[in-house]
């Protein structure tokens, strides 16, 4: 599967994303600098990695989502191809309008890094088909602004459509309805605060993130 990882100034999980994708797909993803305007030919999967693009200044993800590469990412998503945003990548997806809602400052106001219990609430997406629904996972989180907000109608609609894909076991940040990850209506854009790319090796945070990349590969 041909993949691309978008790199912004301040991205810091880009190498981790690269390694996770390479490990599961057997192919090195292209690292695409934010000033590009096109994705490499034949790109199937796009990942927006975590980090602190533009220092998280102004609002997390705001400045990155206005980068010159983003129209190409948006167009790519419109074709129905898979796009994954993790942590800061999730924030960039909401800021760019590819996903509903917004990620606000954690309710506890401090940065939170921990291995968090999660449940897969929709095992039928192209990102989660290799997970059993309602399985419990442990995947690390590390963020200051992961408190998911959307208005009640949006939340109801997402619940109704199965767009909530991951929920926290113990809500670490005040997220509405314990939301940890959501997909868009078409199911091809996933944003999540936990870091699956940090959970692909038994020696480093476990392997509960592997199935996400494997699902993607299986669905490609």
């Amino acid at each position: 599967m041909k993949s691309a990882v978008i790199v912004f100034p301040g991205s810091n999980c880009d190498r981790d994303a690269h390694d996770a994708i390479a490990r599961v797909t057997g192919e090195n993803p292209a690292m695409v600098w934010h000033q590009e305007t096109e994705l490499p030919d034949g790109t199937e999967f796009v990942m927006i990695p975590g980090g602190f693009s533009y220092g998280d200044y102004l609002r997390c993800g705001a400045m990155a989502s206005r980068s010159s590469i983003m129209p190409a990412v948006i167009a790519h998503a419109a074709t129905g191809a898979p796009v994954l945003g993790v942590c800061n990548g999730f924030q960039i997806l909401t800021e760019s309008g590819l996903l509903p809602g917004s990620l606000m400052r954690n309710a506890g106001l401090t940065f939170v890094c921990e291995r968090t219990p999660l449940s897969v609430t929709n095992g039928n997406t192209r990102f989660t088909s290799r997970y059993q629904a309602e399985t419990d996972l442990i995947i690390p989180i590390a963020h200051h602004d992961g408190n998911y907000f959307a208005d009640a109608d949006t939340l109801d609609r997402m619940d109704g459509e199965g767009q909530v894909v991951f929920r926290y076991g113990q809500n670490p940040n005040g997220s509405a309805r314990d939301i940890a990850g959501i997909v868009n209506e078409q199911g091809n854009v996933l944003g999540m605060m936990p870091h699956p790319e940090r959970a692909i090796d038994a020696k480093h945070g476990g392997t509960d993130g592997l199935a996400l990349f494997e699902s993607l590969l299986g669905s490609a």
Binding site: P9, G10, N12, C13, R15, D16, D19, A20, G50, G51, F52, Y54, G55, D56, Y57, L109, T110, F111, V112, C113, E114, R115, P140, A142, H144, H195, E197, R198, I200, D201, K203, H204, G205
Partner: protein
């Protein structure tokens, strides 16, 4: 009659922290009176912070070479060989004074500064550690300082994307007026791609990269070396603000530039910014320097040369390039949207010449700035040796389980999860063990291999106060032990020597004692010092901090599959103590928390036993005999057992033999050194005992794993759940009342 240039008076000289004798040296070296710019430059270069004038005479006692040492002290950071053509580069540094004045920015810029020391040498930073000392928990400033410092460390490290994998935190009233914030950074590089401050030749362009220069921290370096008084809050505007976003870009841009062969020498702008970076590179390369101050990227209008040379604006580097290669740097730094400017060139004059707005504003020889910096042999005396205290000298408590609960919930033992939850410990996806894991040292995989670096920071100020020499030995020994307990080979250390005013003889005595003790331990354990930092004048209104020589150590775990921790205890495992227990209680956690006293001698460190016991334990780990291993330190055997029980969720039944002459509380809470608590399955335990006998290693069976409590001789039981509640509850209870809205 002392000679002064225009507008300069004796008071101005004194304000620059230059003594009369030092001023005479300047007059002598220049053959005239210095102007304001020159005076400022001398003052920062000769400050304690930059010149080590009080400490240099003693730092020479450290062993600094060894089979694995590629670069010892003297460069930006130390470099050790970790095999396969790779090197680990590391250093620890203090940011004590700035953190007391502005905890968030002080701590944040401390992290930024230590990272630059490491990536300046060509390393990609892979781990951060922090050693923190705060005042008494109930002191009015403590919680404010804790929350600011922790947020600052996290705010910076998380953003640059280097995991903060461990550290230590103490609370003691001796730090009420002077907290300690020591940060350590570890990086990885290829051995043939290491960059140095030395290497400049005449006729090379000097390139400035990073952030613009503002008026931040002017006189920060001299402030960092000055004693506090009640008015020091007035000195606040000198504190600098960090920009981790720029730092992250600077790391990537520098590593990109380093992948080319365009660099002759490189140096970060740390304390005393442009002055110290240019002088140090010139001095090490034996060249002169000419700078055009108009070309320095400036954040504010009308900056003077004095301000630019003394500014401590963060996130800046100075690169001396091979001639004609400036465009390589320009292209890379412009891509990363960082300032880049050619601001001068190296010369063969041996002088530092600064030109601003068409005038020469400084022209001084370089050698005296660095080499002729004053070096003092300050007088000192060694503190009186305190008597040892053993269990027999201390009343026996009624219920050991209750004592254990008190200790496990005491400020220095209680869980620091409140702190490390705010640090990204997993970014870079190589963290195999960090603060949250039951491992005596953090383990960070060498990317793409099955090897890991083992990293720890240690120091027990209680012992250093009781006996600087034994305390110094102990700090090194504990670090060595913590690395050993993971199964790794200890390689080398960095240090951060935090003390009070060295002009006081008893403080200087503490310094010398600690250094000599550390040096002795480093030699005995083949554990050289490759970098370090000295922070003196940590005192307020004559009240000095406890002597605190923090040690940061690095080792190598050759095979991650053989790593050891203390969280895998199961029912039926046998617990044994490696090393001799006599029950030393002087300066122990037990005395402080249970008896409310801090007297008695520090436990003696038998370095030969330390080495033999450690090598034995490491051998047993590699032979696959152990299921768990934990070094014994604060709170002795029973606290270590409690750590294991908490981490494993399995109880421990300890056994104390009545017929020994070590009373039960000495056995359980004594802090004898060179010991480990290990666990093994029955058959392995038998083999272990045989090996110990053959090698003449003291080994004692002390208990059995099982149940849901920690108990002694079938009594004194305390439930794991109750221990967990006190252990994990203390710090949140301390910190919760102050929900600070402002970042």
């Amino acid at each position: 009659m002392t000679q002064y240039a225009d507008n300069i008076t004796a008071e101005i000289v004194a304000e620059h922290g230059i003594t009369e004798d030092e001023y005479q040296i300047i007059l002598d070296r220049l053959g005239r009176a210095p102007n304001m710019v020159e005076l400022g430059i001398f003052s920062v270069m000769w400050s304690e912070h930059c010149s080590y004038k009080s400490s240099r005479a003693h730092l020479g006692k450290f062993p600094v070479t060894g089979e694995k040492v590629i670069q010892g002290p003297g460069e930006n950071a130390g470099v050790i060989d970790i095999g396969d053509g790779q090197a680990a580069i590391f250093k620890m540094e203090s940011h004590n004074h700035p953190s007391y004045i502005e905890p968030y920015q002080g701590a944040a810029t401390g992290v930024g500064g230590i990272l630059r020391d490491v990536f300046t040498m060509g390393a990609r930073p892979v781990a951060l550690m922090n050693a923190l000392r705060f005042g008494a928990p109930d002191h009015e400033k403590t919680t404010h300082l804790v929350s600011g410092v922790v947020a600052g460390i996290g705010g910076y490290g998380n953003c640059v994307g280097v995991p903060t994998v461990g550290g230590e935190t103490n609370f003691h009233e001796g730090y009420n007026g002077n907290i300690l914030v020591n940060a350590m950074a570890v990086g990885l590089a290829d051995t043939d791609k290491i960059f140095y401050a030395r290497g400049a030749e005449p006729g090379q362009p000097i390139v400035y990269v990073g952030s613009k220069t503002g008026r931040d921290g002017i006189h920060g370096a001299t402030m960092a070396s000055a004693e506090f008084d009640d008015e020091s809050e007035e000195k606040r505007p000198t504190v600098q603000v960090g920009d981790p976003f720029v730092e992250k870009k600077l790391i990537e841009a520098c590593l990109e530039l380093m992948a080319t062969d365009a660099i002759a020498a490189i140096q970060d702008m740390g304390a005393a910014g442009l002055t110290s970076s240019s002088v140090e590179m010139a001095d090490k390369g034996g060249v002169g320097i000419k700078l055009n101050m108009d070309a320095v990227p400036q954040r504010e209008v009308n900056m003077t040369t004095y301000e630019m040379m003394l500014s401590e604006s963060q996130e800046r580097m100075l690169v001396i390039m091979k001639p004609g290669r400036e465009d390589v740097a320009k292209a890379i730094f412009e891509k990363w949207e960082l300032d880049v400017a050619v601001i001068g060139e190296t010369t063969d004059s041996g002088r530092m010449v600064l030109e601003h707005k068409g005038e020469i504003v400084c022209d001084i020889p370089i050698a005296p700035l660095a080499d002729d910096a004053p070096k003092y042999h300050r007088p000192y005396f060694a503190p009186e040796v305190r008597a040892q205290i053993s269990g027999k000298d201390v009343a026996q408590p009624l219920h050991m389980g209750e004592v254990l609960k008190t200790l496990m919930g005491s400020p220095n033992m209680a869980s620091k999860a409140w702190i490390y939850r705010q640090y990204d410990r997993h970014v870079m996806a190589d963290t195999a063990a960090s603060s949250e894991d039951p491992s005596d040292a953090a383990l960070v995989r060498v990317h793409g291999t099955n090897k890991a670096l083992a990293i720890t920071t240690d120091c027990t100020p209680r012992y250093c106060s009781a006996d600087p020499f034994e305390g110094g030995k102990q700090a090194v020994a504990e670090a060595w032990r913590n690395i050993t307990a993971t199964g790794a080979d200890p390689i080398a250390i960095t240090d951060c020597l935090n003390f009070g005013n060295p002009e006081r003889e008893e403080i200087m005595g503490q310094f010398v004692g600690c250094v000599e003790g550390m040096a002795m331990a480093c030699k005995a354990l083949d554990f050289p010092v490759v970098s370090g930092n000295v922070s003196l004048y940590n005192e307020t209104n004559g009240q000095a901090i406890p002597p605190t020589p923090a040690v940061g150590a690095v080792g190598l775990l050759p095979d991650m599959d053989k790593r050891m921790g203390y969280g895998c205890l199961s029912d039926g495992h046998i617990l044994l103590v490696v090393g001799k227990t006599v029950g030393a209680m002087g300066a122990s956690l037990y005395l402080k928390e249970i008896e409310g006293r801090e007297d008695g001698g520090a436990p003696m460190v038998d370095l030969a036993a330390e080495k033999a016991n450690g090598d034995f334990v490491r051998g047993q780990i590699r032979a696959g005999r152990l299921t768990a291993c934990h070094d014994l330190s604060d709170g002795g055997l029973m606290c270590a057992a409690a750590d294991m029980a908490l981490a494993s969720g399995t109880g421990i039944k300890l056994a104390h033999e009545a017929e020994t002459d070590v009373p039960m509380h000495g056995f359980l809470f004594g802090e004898d050194q060179a010991r480990y608590l290990v666990a093994a399955k029955k058959d392995d335990a038998i083999a272990l005992i045989q090996d110990a006998k053959a090698e003449d290693i003291p080994l004692q069976v002390v208990g059995l794993a099982g149940g849901t409590s920690v108990s002694v001789n079938g009594a004194h039981a305390v439930k794991i759940d109750d221990l967990r509640a006190v252990h994990e509850g203390w710090m949140p209870a301390l910190m919760t009342p102050i929900a600070e809205g402002a970042e």
